[in-house]
Amino acid sequence: MSAEYILEMNGITKEYGSNAVLKDVTLRIRPGEIHALLGENGAGKSTLMNVLFGMPVIHSTGGFKGEVLLNGERVRIMSPMDAMEKGIGMVHQEFMLIPGFSITDNIKLNREITKPWAVSKVLGKDLEFLNVQAMSRDARKALDDVGMGIDEFALVSGLPVGHMQFIEIAREIDKTGIKLLVFDEPTAVLTESEAAQLLSVMKNIAASGIAIIFITHRLDEVMEAADNITILRDGRLVSTLKKTETTAEQLAALMIGRGEESVIQVDKRKEAPSEKIAMSIRNLWVDMPGEVCRGINLDVHEGEILGIGGLAGQGKIGIPNGIMGLYDAVGDVELFGKKLPLNDTTSALQAGLAFVSEDRRGVGLLLDQSIEDNIVFSAMQVHRDFLKGPLHLKDTKKIRKTAEDMIQKLDIRCTSPAQATGTLSGGNQQKVCVARALMLNPKFLFVSEPTRGIDIGAKQLVLETLVRLGREQHMTIIMVSSELQELRSICDRIAIISEGKVAAILQPDDSDTAFGLAMSGAQLKGGETA
């Protein structure tokens, strides 16, 4: 007999150390339905799928609590191989295809159809011949099912990205006994027409009785294809809805919604921000791997704190990195009316820009050097401060005094200014990074993901420092953050980046719905409103 649900995941709880990433999550999938799984970055979607596929990362960190039922039977999935045998397939976000092999080979990889001959009868199955006809027949059928007319013998290398996605799907549906397919952001790299085709393929597959879990953040696609929708937020199940009973706006609000829990309370700015433009960005393209900007247009007013938000991988981090010259960039950037040369870090720093990087340990610090040396480093290199004598050697006394001031001002918890930064906690490391940027006396400050991975106390202090700099010293600040709540609590305006472009510029008190829609790129459909 067949159960009502093909897959039931009941009360799944997963902790990494003391950090709970999934709390009592339940997911139920019926046969033949397309079930959308929605959530921001870090909401727990990936972990949930890791549990489903029995990834080693789950088992090696103490397993999980809760139960998984397939067809009504309780199962223990110990490895991805195990999951595959039980009829669960995955269409990966990064393509797992071998470029030098033909499409048929890729589809049939490790499941080749073989025919025996004399030697193989003696020496075993490993030496059997490939049955190329049978394999190509199967591949053809699978390709036809996903609506691809392409020759099944073509090599994978050189195919357009979109095609690769379909080959992945073809490979999954070719597997016999497949009951459940997971699509992990399948439309992220597809053109609009390809995405539309994909959705129709998904509907066909579902119609043939295979259930689909559809992970995405594009609400319009969800509204078009999904039957049911589960929304996760902060590792908790927010709700499970039928598509027919909801709207994109509601989904967006549910995804974002945490209006009540503000990180810090900041008095709203009394006077209106200046209308003078501090920085104007026109058609900025940045080639930062994983965070590509595709034509950013943005104006930043003098003295304001401009937030930049958006989902991971959409290009928000590319903006400061591109302007600071850390990654190749093209476009026009003007700073206080003067043109800023791109791809030139020294000029950017000398023009009065400063940057607190999101990659604290990789870019932000010299981990094996002392706090004081870290703090004064940029100022010494860019403005030749802290040097003395005819030989221009470093002025240890002055450095120590300055560092002690900074440590006090930013409340850096350390044993002495000579402590190596590698031994500090994340929050204190972040404060050292901020201190280093401030030593440059910047007119314009980029802060990228300043609160990532630091505790709540340090978070408040860093944010308060930024507000103080903006309000009291009239520094213009661009703060890039994945934490929307943070942006909404301290920024004057918030630009949401989606697919490398500015999707919307919102006020902090705009509705959750507006933010959710902008982040999922829904407004792009209605034209370039940014």
Binding site: M324, L326, T345, T346, A348, L349, Q350, F355, S357, D359, G362, V363, G364, L365, L366, L367, D368, Q369, D373, F377, S378, M380, Q381, V382, R384, L387, L391, H392, L393, K394
Partner: protein, 754 residues
């Protein structure tokens, strides 16, 4: 998890405590052993052992001689037999051996338990013998040392022995006084007995010189003969006189060569017969300058004893006669031995009686070697053995103590210093202790360590900018070394000596290193991430390239090129005539027997100081930021490639200066493949000092070079003292240096995975 760690910790502490207890026991036992040495009973036992050993040596010699006599008698008997030829070699051997063994057994039964009637007399004789020998030995040592000093200063200083001899006009007294002008101490009255010997030496030297000059002249004459005669076959039919006349006509200068007539005619005939056979004629050349180089190893054949020494020698002789008489009384058959055997026994007896020193354990060992320990039994024997082994037990105890400390403070030590530095420092401490216990001259060792520190210090310093700028261990510093060697041969080419030559070598080497280092850095900048492989490879291939280069470069000073071919540089160049040891000896002084090479150390310190100042400048700080985190540096607007270029060029230039200093301290400059290993030595030294492949400080350089060279110098001496045969120190150097590099690389791998 903490539970498991606690368990591990307790296990380690318990192990450490057990080891400490063991070490304490060993040390106590050894102290007891040392204490025993002073006691009367032990001294008496030692004397008993000695008497027994002497007796055993005598009787053993007798038994040996009887056995060998029996063997040769048997062999004679066999030879006399008619069927001797039909006997196999094995059979002959075994028959003879059997006869010898039988005779030996019989003799042993007879003599080995000889009864001593006059024990006091024998002991007195032995005591007298020992005293006489120690007086004689000490005196002889002293006189030979005086002779050796005089010999060396004469051989090194006298410019022309033939001139000296002819000036003296056969008058030995005059000759001696002129010799004394070259070695002042010769005229001291105490050395009067050496007069005859040195006069003979002068004669022999003059003869040698004459022979060398003659050989050279003969060679020149032969050469001119070969050059002058165009067709040897024309001369073939002539007899000696006619040939001589013909040659006199053809060859210039032969008329004055009457003395070499026979030799030259012999040569000429060789050439004629060769020409008739159609062979080509060539003059054989001898090794360049071999005839004029005298060995400065002392030749004692001209040593004459003083009256005091002769008297001492007679004293030994009479003491021996007394001893021999005593022994003959105990074993009367000794008198029947032949002269040769008596002499052999005498040598054995002398070695047994006087072991050359007063050291307790060496005396014990000498007696024990003659089975003297058999004289004692039970606890007496045990206590003797214990006291003899006290030193070894002490060393073992200290080693155990160090091991225990290693267990006890493992976490603290490794956290602070890293595993290899901890182990090597402990090893160094152990070596220092062992050196004291092995009676190795500490002042000499210290002088050695200091010289080698100065010698290698700058090469190690060259590693520092490489590490700081992020290219890691600059194995390609051999490029700089080769530039420095070029500087040295340039100074030799232009005959520059003294401070001027040294300065020129350093400066020209550094200047040559500049473009080489620049090109090398461009290569490294294109190969980020695999610098270690590239730099090792580049270093090796540049050495190989320069092996061709040294042959091709147009140097032409005959002092530095191969004489035979006339081009190409020699492998080893002595700097003794130019600036060897110039820095070592600059302001050098001696304290408590330790020679401090002030100039060398001062130069190293100045270089380190400059490097330290540089590392505090804006560029230096930027450079080390590039090394420890290139992305951080880039975010502060620093050009990573530029800093890497500065670091690489600096490293190469310092290496060039380093090799000049190294060569002047070594006394020789070695070209071709010699510089290949220097990079490895420098790398391991700085790593032992505490540097990593990402971070290095001046203190790492100084500490590292001290520890590395200290372990090597000490290790070499102790390995030689403990294990016979050399080569161990080289094995140790390779193990330490490569092991350290390997460890450092695994450490970086671990860090990058973090």
């Amino acid at each position: 998890m903490t539970q498991a760690r606690k368990k591990k910790l307790t296990a380690r502490i318990i192990t450490a405590i057990v080891l400490y207890v063991l070490a304490a026991i060993l040390i106590l036992v050894s102290v007891f052993g040392f204490f025993l040495r002073g006691s009367d009973s032990i001294q008496n036992n030692l004397n008993t052992m000695r008497t027994h050993a002497v007796l055993h040596a005598a009787s053993g010699g007798l038994v040996d001689s009887i056995a060998s006599q029996a063997r040769s008698d048997k062999l004679k008997e066999l030879r006399a037999r008619k069927d001797f030829r039909t006997l196999g070699l094995d059979e002959v051997n075994s028959t003879c051996d059997a006869a010898a063994a039988a005779a030996r057994a019989e003799a042993e039964a007879l003599y080995s338990n000889a009864t001593v009637q006059n024990a006091a007399g024998l002991e007195n004789a032995i005591n007298a013998m020992e005293k006489a020998m120690s007086v004689y030995g000490g005196l002889r040592e002293k006189e030979r040392a005086v002779y050796s000093d005089l010999y060396v200063s004469l051989v090194e200083n006298v410019p022309d022995w033939t001139d000296l001899l002819s000036a003296a006009q056969e008058d030995d007294a005059k000759l001696f006084s002129s010799l004394a002008t070259w070695a002042e101490d010769l005229s001291v009255p105490a050395n009067a007995h050496l007069q005859d010997g040195f006069v003979k030496l002068a004669h022999s030297m003059a003869e040698k010189e004459q022979a060398a000059d003659d050989a050279e002249l003969l060679q020149q004459l032969t050469a001119s003969m070969v050059g002058a005669v165009s067709d040897w076959t024309e001369l073939s039919e002539l007899d000696d006189e006619a040939l001589w006349e013909a040659l006199n006509r053809e060859v210039e200068g032969f008329s004055a060569a009457e003395a070499f007539k026979t030799d030259l005619l012999k040569k000429a005939k060789e050439y004629i017969s060769a020409a008739e056979k159609g062979e080509t004629i060539a003059v054989e050349t001898k090794d360049e300058g071999a005839a004029t180089v005298y060995d400065t190893v002392t030749d004692y054949s001209f040593f004459t004893a003083s009256d005091a020494l002769n008297a001492a020698s007679e004293g030994v002789e009479s003491a021996y006669q007394q001893l021999w008489g005593e022994l003959n009384e105990i074993i009367p058959d000794l008198a029947n031995l032949d002269k040769k055997m008596q002499k052999t026994i005498r040598t054995t007896l002398e070695n047994t009686v006087w072991s050359g020193g007063i050291d307790y354990s060496s005396r014990y060992n000498a007696y024990a070697a003659q089975e003297g320990s058999e004289a004692l039994s039970g606890s007496a024997a045990f206590l003797m053995q214990l006291s003899a082994l006290a030193r070894n037990i002490l060393i073992a105890g200290i080693a155990l103590c160090l091991l225990a400390s290693l267990f006890m403070f493992w976490d603290t030590l490794t956290k602070r210093f890293g595993i290899p530095r901890t182990i090597i420092t402990l090893f160094f401490i152990y070596l220092c202790l062992a050196a004291v216990l092995y009676d190795i001259s500490v002042p000499m060792m210290l002088s050695n360590v200091m010289i080698r520190m100065g010698m290698y210090g700058i090469l190690v310093l060259a590693m520092m900018p490489g590490i700081q700028c992020g290219i890691g261990l600059n194995m390609g510093m051999t490029i700089g070394c080769i530039a420095g060697l070029l500087g040295i041969v340039l100074s030799l080419q232009f005959n520059m000596t003294g401070w001027y030559g040294l300065l020129f070598s350093c400066v020209s080497g550094a200047i040559l290193a500049l473009p080489l280092g620049w090109a090398y850095s461009k290569l490294l900048n294109r190969m980020k991430g695999s610098e270690m492989t590239i730099s090792t490879y580049v270093g090796f291939s540049f050495v190989a390239l320069m092996c061709i280069g040294w042959m091709m470069l147009p140097f032409n000073n005959p002092k530095i090129i191969w004489l035979l071919s006339g081009h190409g540089l020699r492998v080893t160049h002595s700097l003794l005539g130019s600036y060897a040891h110039l820095l070592d000896e600059f302001l050098a002084f001696e304290v408590l027997g330790v020679t401090v090479p002030t100039g060398l150390l001062l130069f190293l310190l100045v270089c380190c100081l400059l490097m330290w100042l540089f590392s505090r400048s804006r560029t230096g700080i930027a450079m080390s930021a590039v090394g420890s985190n290139p992305r951080f540096a880039e975010a502060s607007g620093i050009s990573v490639n530029k800093m890497r270029t500065i670091g690489t060029v600096l490293s190469t230039m310092i290496a060039a200066v380093g090799i000049v200093i190294y060569s002047q301290a070594f006394g020789y400059a070695q070209l071709y493949t010699a510089p290949r290993q220097l990079g490895f030595i420098a790398a391991s030294a700085i790593l032992i000092g505490g540097a990593t492949v990402r971070k290095a400080k001046v203190s790492h350089v100084i500490f590292g070079v001290f520890l590395f060279e200290g372990v090597l110098v000490l290790g070499q001496q102790i390995a030689n003292a403990a294990v016979a045969g050399g080569g161990l120190s080289e094995v140790m150097r390779i193990m330490i240096s490569n092991g350290i590099i390997l460890y450092a690389l695994t450490q970086t791998g671990g860090a990058s995975r973090e």
